[in-house]
């Protein structure tokens, strides 16, 4: 019996102790009409070897593509040590660290994680993780509405340059609580929030303004100006940031004259594999004054009976298992093990390593853009500064081009027309530190051939 350890003799002894003859008797409180579920549609069990054969065959169907897509998930080098250590049973198979004395490993690791996120973002208090970037933003919006005592508004300004999936998730999560999401318009020339057009919002109260950096198009927003503008209206500022980019970009805690109030984002770039979309983790940090409004678990340092340093879950009065219907969030299970991996990743890279990764991504993307825009009819949609993603206009429908690229082993980017029909045929491309010049050349040659049927032209015009 897989995973059941008992011998027949032991089973008999246990039944005898209970005072029943058969296992069935243990279920005699369940109404008989409910017993005897039909499970014929479920196959019989297999050994680990057979399951491995099945799943290896399945995995072999998923032909790998050379990845030039980002759009919320980024292929970075993950040091071998990250997952070797993370999948140690003591991390992998432990529960939430409610029994602090028996969980000092996980608790201290979370405290170190909180410190690293605090350093990257420039805000004091980070939590132990949320589900992913999108749900982290949803929680940040809910938190901002609770925390903003100056403005009694349930309206939140969320620009169209925020990841469209994030905006969808925020809508799913927050609208039942009467929160209204308002679009901020884009400046079509640079692909970021139109600062000039913000004036028309100035007579309306907002609980919060969401500021992405870099934004969904990879463009850099004028974050200082936007943060000050939000604060001028009495709104809280919520930053949404790629944590790797923060190794080189100014930390949200220093944006504008006062810094943002809440920052959140997708933690996946910090050592988490792409894995078709999850598990990833959301991170969140805030100023000390708002810490009691944070959702999720938070670890604090304290002392034990003998005065020794130790770590424990703290501020639990915010959480569902204590506060029930008045909790700051319903979150219980988070993405703990992903935060463990991210902690080890950040320790291995250090600020120097992480800055090199970020700068290398930027350099690779510049090289990619240079090579691709040398092709006739391929041009940048916007001309402002970017981090490691860029929208490119194509002379043919992006979906069709992507299909042909995939047939040749290249994931060519993300078809922006899926979310921004008004942009026409536009591909959002990305190159991380993983992409080589040879791979970039290969992509350019393929695109040249697909668009113009001639690889040679690409070389001569580049």
């Amino acid at each position: 019996m897989p995973f059941v350890p008992h011998t027949p003799e032991e089973i008999q002894e246990m039944l005898d102790t209970i005072g029943v003859e058969r296992l069935d008797e243990l279920f005699d409180e369940i109404p008989s009409a409910l017993l005897g579920a039909q499970l014929d549609a479920i196959p019989e069990g297999m050994g680990e070897m057979e399951v491995a054969q099945l799943m290896r065959a399945r995995a072999a169907q998923d032909v790998p593509l050379t990845c030039f897509a980002g759009a919320g998930a980024y292929e970075h080098h993950i040091p071998a040590a990250v997952w070797e250590v993370t999948t140690r049973g003591e991390f992998y198979s432990a529960y939430t660290p409610y029994q602090a004395e028996a969980s000092q490993g996980t608790l201290q690791q979370i405290y170190e994680f909180q410190t690293m996120i605090s350093e990257l973002t420039g805000l004091y208090a980070a939590n132990a993780s949320l589900y992913d970037g999108a749900t982290a933003l949803a929680e940040a919006v809910l938190m901002a509405v609770r925390a903003n005592r100056k403005v009694k508004s349930k309206r939140v300004l969320i620009p169209r340059s925020v990841h469209p999936r994030y905006r969808q998730v925020v809508e799913t999560v927050v609208t039942a609580q009467g929160i209204e999401l308002i679009d901020a318009p884009l400046d079509d020339t640079v692909g970021r929030v139109d600062a000039e057009a913000l004036g028309r919002f100035e007579d309306q109260p907002f609980a919060a303004v969401v500021i992405p950096q870099p934004n969904f198009f990879g463009a850099l927003e004028e974050v200082d100006r936007l943060t000050d503008w939000a604060h001028g209206l009495g709104a809280l500022a919520i930053g949404v940031c790629n944590p790797v980019a923060l190794a080189v970009l100014s930390p949200p805690g220093e944006w504008g004259s006062a810094g943002v109030d809440i920052v959140c984002g997708e933690g996946q770039p910090l050592g988490i594999p792409l894995a078709s979309g999850g598990p990833y983790f959301g991170y969140m940090a805030t100023r000390k004054e708002h810490v009691r409004q944070l959702p999720g678990r938070v670890v604090g340092r304290t002392v034990d009976l003998d005065g020794r340093t130790g770590f424990t879950l703290t501020l639990q009065a915010r959480e569902q298992h204590i506060r029930r219907s008045k909790a700051t969030s319903n979150i219980c299970t988070n993405q703990g093990l992903m935060a463990t991996a991210a902690t080890i990743y950040m320790a291995l890279l250090g600020s120097e390593g992480l800055a090199r990764v970020a700068a290398m991504c930027h350099e690779r993307t510049r090289e990619l853009v240079q090579r691709l825009t040398a092709i006739d009819g391929v041009e940048r949609l916007y001309d402002g500064p970017f981090f490691h993603e860029v929208p490119l206009r194509l002379p043919r429908p992006a979906a069709e081009v992507l299909k042909q690229l995939a047939a040749h082993g290249v994931l060519g980017g993300y078809d922006l027309g899926r979310d921004y029909a008004e942009l026409g045929s536009v591909l959002l491309v990305c190159a991380t530190e993983m992409r080589t010049s040879a791979e970039i050349d290969h992509y350019a040659a393929l695109l040249q051939e697909i668009l113009h049927g001639d690889a040679a032209v690409a070389r001569s015009s580049g």
């Binding site: 209970i18 005699d28 009409a33 799943m55 040091p79 604090g300 988070n334 463990t340 250090g350 290398m360």
Partner: protein, 484 residues
Amino acid sequence: MLIYDISRPGRRAFAQAPYREPSADSLPRRFRRQSPPRLPQVSELEVVRHYTRLSQKNFSIDTHFYPLGSCTMKYNPRGANQLAMLPQFLGRHPLAPDTHGQGVLACLYELQQELAVVTGMDEVALSVMAGAQGELAGVAMIRAYHEARGDTARTEILVPDAAHGTNPATATMCGYKVREIPTGADGDVDMAALDTALGPQTAGIMLTNPSTVGVFERRIQEIAARVHEAGGLLYYDGANLNAILGKARPGDMGFDVIHLNLHKTFSTPHGGGGPGAGAVGVNQRLLPYLPLPRVGQEKGDRYRWLTEADCPESIGRLGTFGGNIGILLRAYAYLRMLGRDGMVRVADYSTLSANYLMKRLQAEGFTVAYPERRASHEFIVSLKKEAKELGVNAMDFAKRLLDLGYHAPTTYFPLLIPEALLIEPTETESKRELDGFVEAMVRIRKEAEEDPDAVKGAPYRLPVRRLDDVRAARDLDLRWEEHS
């Protein structure tokens, strides 16, 4: 010792960053940070040793018996972990085309179908990332259902007083008022109180079955009939499905929507807090509202992600991509290994373990909460007598158990039982472990009789003794500082 305490300026894990030093100077200065974040400056060996040593300060299933009630801490098969981490699965970008993901999509589709069969629901979606998010999806679907019918006067969700805290917290997040239903003396829902609470304002009820007091809700069909009669829907919290997996199905009990905790019943790891996976299942009534995306099957055994275009009435998306797919693959591998007979064995032997352990503790003179009832896969010991007579409470027993090499059961939950230890041994623990736990409980009581203060001072053998939680909350120290 924090990782920051071994950090030294100029030290690095040199193999782990690009060798060449690229320049980010082309980024305009106003966007660049002026001083680097203080991340640790350590060697690769220092990192590996530090976190390996930290891990050794944890209790875990791999190292200790972990009878944490309502959490189903059973063995997480290593095979499932290895197979979910096959390079093609790990390397696939979420926006890669479905044509290059037929393998992973086939696994997910079969998982959806088989979870629907074993729970008696019509359709399952896998994209929700934890139990609480499953609850959010479920209650949002209940809301969508009522709204689609123009039935907008339903403002209340009923929740038993013993429910997990996530239930009332979720109902609030979905814009509902929470009304608590008391538990009767026999551990089942108080039917008279239910009748009083039901009315035209009832949107639905959230129930866990077997319940959080560790017994099967015997009148579940009658409850379903009364709630449906009042126009409400029934939500099943799958936290305790392990007790009845393959034996009895929530769909047959009358539930309209369920969530499963795959990190409990389907043995995916808890990871020190997550990630989990919280599949949701529905009957026909709620089918149009299932969250996106989920996997659909087309002709010729081709699979693809269903989107808004396929499911226009969906409550929407609950995550950036398709959910915790790596966790779902572990659940899939586990399910394949169990097969249909193995699922029934999960219920059989988790229930056998719990009833055996309950009987043994009773025989040793401990008080169980519902002695006349069968235990499900868990049961409650109340240490009220020990607390009163010996001055040693449930928390003291819990801490001393840690010293003796056993993770503590869930303490002080559910709140309606004084000095509660909620004990869930699971089907993967041997009789020898269960007997050892009984011996440990007996030993602690004996120690308490002889020297209660000694027990109250536990633990002694762990990396730290009891921690000052009051100080932790009062003098907040949430991050390392240079001179702290």
